[in-house]
């Protein structure tokens, strides 16, 4: 079971208390009625879906109820840090976090040919 640090409860809690809430740091356009359809689609539908480091919104829905931001590695499924909603995108602390905890196809089968 994953433990997620809630920045409002100030402790690690079980993933069961949390909900994923999409990509973080997406700013709503200032004048949304003036933008083109393409720009609206970009803002509303298109997400980066990055492999590796990604910034996401999470909600402690069965706890304090708060939304917050999290930096997560989508390869290792490891939470690198969390911080309160409304704060600017935070740099990920350097803790030698490039551990390869998940065996990928490329890593295990890449040389099999």
């Amino acid at each position: 079971m994953l433990l997620i640090h809630c920045p409002y409860c100030e402790e690690d809690r079980s993933e069961l208390e949390f909900r994923w809430a999409g990509e973080a740091h997406i700013a709503r356009p200032e004048n949304i009625s003036a933008i083109s359809d393409e720009e609206f689609a970009e803002f509303f539908f298109l997400r980066n879906n990055e492999k590796g480091l990604t910034y996401e919104r999470w909600r402690h829905i069965h706890g304090c109820g708060r939304f917050f931001n999290a930096a997560r590695d989508t390869v290792s499924d490891r939470f690198l840090m969390t911080y309160k909603a409304g704060m600017p995108k935070q740099p990920v602390p350097e803790t030698g976090a490039s551990e390869k905890t998940v065996e990928t196809y490329e890593a295990t089968e890449g040389d099999a040919r």
């Binding site: 079980s14 208390e17 706890g63 304090c64 109820g65 708060r66």
Partner: protein, 190 residues
Amino acid sequence: MVDSGANFGSDIAARTLPLAGFHGGSSAARLETAPPAERISLRARAEDVGALSGALGVALPVKPKTSSSANGRTALWLGPDEWLVIAEGNGGLMQAAKNSGVLHSAADVSHRNTAILVSGPGAAAAINAGCPQDLSLKAFPVGACSRTVFGKVEIVLLRTAEDAFRVEVWRSFSDYAFGLLCEGAQDASL
């Protein structure tokens, strides 16, 4: 057609509690239904906490996972701007909040919730059957409280003594919560 009200008497509005008649538990963890209580779900800004605390007669805690009790009322921290206030019996909580004179939101949830009292040496183990929180005395001391999950339902958990907890649960989920607590209590006694 009702010809007269003479036949109805007090039975017309008999109150049935959500867990009336339920009993369970084991030698390690006793389960009891809590008597009816008045409850409000309270939300307010940080600057209004002092005025509301004074009006309610109980200090609203501002530290995560803590509660405070005074004058038969208990205030539980649920979130940075959210509290659950419980009063024994009919405590006039709504009026007291209104008397504070500051901006707030108070919803009477007395009948939305019911409570199960879990006590005994296996109380924490019985709750941990469905709750992922660390209930050791170090992480969850007496007076600690938290909204969390219990199996498939959401609960508010309050530690009232070293071996006693109050489980606040929505009344429509109380049947499930009581059943799962019974299972947990049996496992705790093995």
